[in-house]
């Protein structure tokens, strides 16, 4: 009884597989399991899954993850060609790496996903690397770890350190320039609001700029070689808050408002310091590095203090 079924299934399986491939050709962006189900409603889920797995294992289909769920896509014949000669395990590992897109994946996670022993994985990775199918990229998050991704992909910024890193070097100057530019923008806006002499409410509201506004201004300035996101600009704006030059407020915004995220918008404006520098820092003692060693009669004392002398002579 089971034999017959298997034969039947086998024939059916091939047909299912072909149908799936046809569907994939029809929908090059990929199809979900649901689509296959709709197309062939009489097939049991178990059967469907088996066919799909076979197609995946033989390298005819790609597995992708999307917002809608799992997607099956026809594999690119080029890469499919390259895969010729690799065994299934390699294909599996390759697929896993491909799924990780440009964010890459640690070897440990590859092991977890593929259930293959580590030694096997390492062999495969070496192999794939030599075939120039994949590459290893150092992650800025943990300098000793590497992530693997497809050879021709541009690594995502979270791997390389984002806009602020260039070859693992933190771009202090660049950050500084952005910091200054953002501040200038906000300062100008605040001044304009003050000079407008409108009623206080309007003045205050017009002194604010959303992070989106600032982001747009910076992009238009064209000073960045890298593409900056609004979030990137927000991290810069935050440093201005810690510089005591800018303050932020969050307002509710309707979904879909330009620059809003999750129903909120961040607004920033330039502010003045509330006090002048303290009296203490107007004296050499306030800044003195040897203050604790200073006492009358000692090697370092008020009467022989060089800092005082310089300060008095100035």
């Amino acid at each position: 009884m089971s034999e017959a079924k298997v034969k039947q299934e086998g024939g059916e399986a091939a047909e299912i597989e072909n149908r799936v491939i046809e569907l994939c050709q029809q929908f090059p962006h990929g199809i979900t399991d649901q689509v296959i189900q709709n197309e062939m409603p009489h097939i049991e889920a178990k059967q469907r899954a088996m066919c799909i797995n076979r197609l995946l294992a033989t390298g005819q289909l790609d597995l992708l993850r999307s917002g809608a769920g799992l997607l099956y896509r026809l594999k690119d014949p080029q890469t499919a060609g390259k895969m010729k000669g690799s065994d299934n395990q390699e294909k599996l590992v390759y697929q896993i790496i491909e799924d990780a897109d440009n964010k890459g994946i640690w070897s440990r996670d590859i092991r977890y996903k593929s259930n293959l022993p580590l030694t096997e994985i390492n062999k495969i990775l070496k192999n794939l690397e030599s075939k120039k199918l994949i590459k290893a990229v150092k992650s800025v998050a943990a300098s000793k770890k590497k992530v693997y991704m497809l050879y021709n992909l541009q690594p995502d910024r979270s791997v390389t350190g984002g806009a602020w890193y260039s070859d693992q070097d933190f771009e202090s100057e660049f950050v500084e320039v952005l910091n200054q530019q953002c501040f200038k923008f906000l300062q100008t806006k605040a001044e304009a609001a003050r000079d407008s002499k409108q009623n206080p409410m309007i003045q205050r509201n017009s002194s604010f700029a959303s992070s989106h506004e600032v982001w747009k201004y910076i992009c238009e300035l064209g000073i960045s070689k890298v593409e900056l996101s609004m979030e990137d600009i927000e991290t810069i704006l935050n440093t201005l808050i810690y510089d005591g030059k800018v303050e932020m407020t969050i307002i509710a915004a309707k979904e879909g408002t330009v620059g809003s995220v999750d129903g909120q918008m961040k607004l920033y404006r330039g502010v003045n310091p509330i006090t002048q520098p303290a009296g203490l820092v107007r004296t050499p003692c306030g800044l003195c590095p040897v203050f604790d060693d200073c006492h009358e009669g000692g090697e370092i004392s008020p009467s022989n203090c060089i800092y005082m002398t310089d300060w008095l002579d100035f």
Binding site: R194, P200, M201, I236, T239, Y242, I274, M308
Partner: protein
């Protein structure tokens, strides 16, 4: 009472009351309550001198006394009052801004003499003002008296504690009179019939007018308010300084109008809010509107907008406390004082270690606890720099490190190391630094002056000679000859010395401003907690 504070007190006493008073005062500061003979013995000062010194110290409200359990009189030094000597110029100047020259001189005389009766003060001030007036004019006592009353009404001067009647036993004065002051009478000015005007000094009198004490005879009018003494109420001045600082902050951050509104609110709260309160009594927007200065022309609507903006501002100096009367508002005094102190701490880090460090400092203030990596990320500084800055601040106790173990074995690799800023200890430390700084400035000034003592004396002698020659009508040529006795390089040296002394003096005053802010914050926090 730290060594640093005691050193500063000693210098202040020395400069203003002489070495004997310094010795006695400093001894009391360092050792606490002491009876007369212990002071004499331990300081190696004669009993007479100690008595004189104590009289001076008590007269100037720096030391008080009480009978101890065994029947001895013990003397107690009030450290904070000693340190106030540094602030005398600020009290006098403030009185000037509020009550003109008359107010200025009243406060000055009270500070110079410690305590005075109304009648004595009025006469002295009238005389001094008369000196500055045109030849035929003089100052009316009643005018001075009126200003004095204003000062009392607004609590800038107050009654000194007086002797209680019951102390006088058998006609003999008590060992140690008990002095008390009834709160209700603290600011009541006795109704004196003071008619008269200020008198000029006779030109032949060399007396600089400062020592009124050499007059042994008492005038009839003194008996009117005999025994009723007044002193400067420094707490009230401090309240004024605090208010000024708050108004100034609002003006800097926001605008003139906002600061005027805050000034009005503070003025309305002056006598209804105790000096240690965390916030003022609630004021309604209607009341505030009515109390705005007469020149101020903003509509009620606009006022309400300003009040809303003040209440919503991240500064949080103004808070909402209800909806009646058009909206009720308070000033968050403790919050304001704390924010001023924090700004002072930030200022120190900024000027001493630079803006990157200041950024990290402010970051820690906001986020409270951060690991080093988080500091790097938020402040956007490279790891090496972050480490350096944190270490610098750590070694100066501006920042501290907290260990939070993740696992029970406290293994370092599984422990959170969190950086944090504790504002109160930080402020305390900075305050000590301020005290020592002022002491340093004084010592340097004294040293520079001493180094040039001979030259200074020479210059003074020459000036005296020239003055007397001018008085006897000497010729220009003769005067010039004398003047030339000071050579050009000597003149330059003198000018340089004067410039330096001025700079050192001016910086003492400015450091005292920082002292004030930090002390206010520390005291405000103490009362809040206690």
């Amino acid at each position: 009472m730290s060594a640093v504070e005691s050193k500063l007190c000693s210098l202040l006493l020395q400069e203003h009351y002489g070495e004997i008073v310094d010795r006695v005062g400093t001894f009391l500061i360092r050792t606490g309550n002491q009876p007369l003979r212990v002071i004499a013995n331990e300081t190696g000062t004669s009993l007479d001198q100690v008595k004189k010194a104590l009289c001076v110290l008590i007269q100037h409200n720096l030391v008080t006394y009480q009978l101890n359990k065994r029947g001895f009189v013990e003397y107690k030094a009030h450290v904070d009052r000693f340190l106030r000597i540094l602030r005398y110029p600020r009290y006098i100047y403030t009185a000037k801004t509020l009550y003109g020259d008359t107010g200025e001189l009243i406060v000055e005389e009270l500070l110079l003499n410690g305590k005075m009766t109304l009648s004595a003060a009025v006469k002295k001030v009238a005389d001094r003002l008369t000196e500055t007036m045109e030849d035929s004019k003089s100052m009316e006592y009643s005018e001075v008296s009126a200003t004095f009353t204003h000062l009392a009404d607004t609590h800038f001067v107050q009654r000194c504690p007086t002797v209680q009647e019951k102390d006088a036993t058998e006609g003999r004065p008590p060992l140690a009179p008990t002095l008390q002051m009834n709160e209700k009478e603290m600011y009541i000015v006795p109704k004196l019939n003071m008619t008269g005007r200020g008198k000029r000094r006779r030109s032949s009198d060399d007396d600089d007018g400062g020592s009124q004490a050499k007059r042994p005879k008492k005038e009839a009018e003194d008996s009117q308010d005999d025994g009723v003494y007044w002193q400067v109420n420094t707490e009230r001045f401090h309240q004024h300084f605090r208010d000024q600082a708050i108004i100034s902050a609002v003006s800097n951050k926001m605008d003139q109008t906002s600061s005027e509104i805050v000034r009005t609110m503070l003025r309305m709260s002056e006598v209804t809010t105790s000096s240690s309160a965390a916030y003022t009594q609630p004021l309604s927007s209607n009341e505030i509107f009515r109390s705005l200065p007469t020149g101020y022309n903003i509509s009620k609507q606009v006022l309400d907008q300003y009040l809303t903006l003040l209440a919503d501002d991240p500064l949080e100096y103004v808070g909402r406390s209800g909806d009646s009367g058009g909206g009720m508002f308070v000033i968050n005094l403790h919050k304001a004082v704390a924010s001023l102190a924090t700004a002072t701490l930030e200022s120190l880090v900024q000027e001493r270690f630079g803006s990157r460090c200041a950024r990290i400092f402010r970051l820690l203030l906001r986020k409270r606890h951060l690991e080093q990596k988080q500091v790097e990320d938020f402040a956007m500084v490279p790891a090496k720099e972050a480490k350096e800055m944190l270490y610098k601040m750590l070694s100066q106790n501006l920042v501290s490190l907290q260990e939070i173990p993740k696992t029970p074995d406290h293994a370092p690799s599984r422990t959170f190391y969190l950086y944090t800023v504790n504002t109160l200890p930080c402020a305390r430390m900075l305050l000590q630094r301020c005290y020592k700084t002022v002491a340093n400035l004084i010592e340097r000034r004294q040293y520079d002056t001493k180094e040039n003592k001979r030259l200074l004396e020479k210059s003074q002698r020459i000036e005296a000679i020239i003055a007397s020659m001018q008085a006897t009508g000497a010729e220009e040529g003769q005067l010039q000859e004398i003047e030339e006795m000071i050579t050009a390089p000597e003149r330059q040296q003198l000018e340089s010395l004067k410039r330096n002394v001025n700079k050192l003096d001016a910086s003492e005053i400015q450091v005292d401003e920082t002292i004030f802010i930090l002390e206010s914050y520390i005291n405000s926090t103490k009362t809040k907690a206690g």
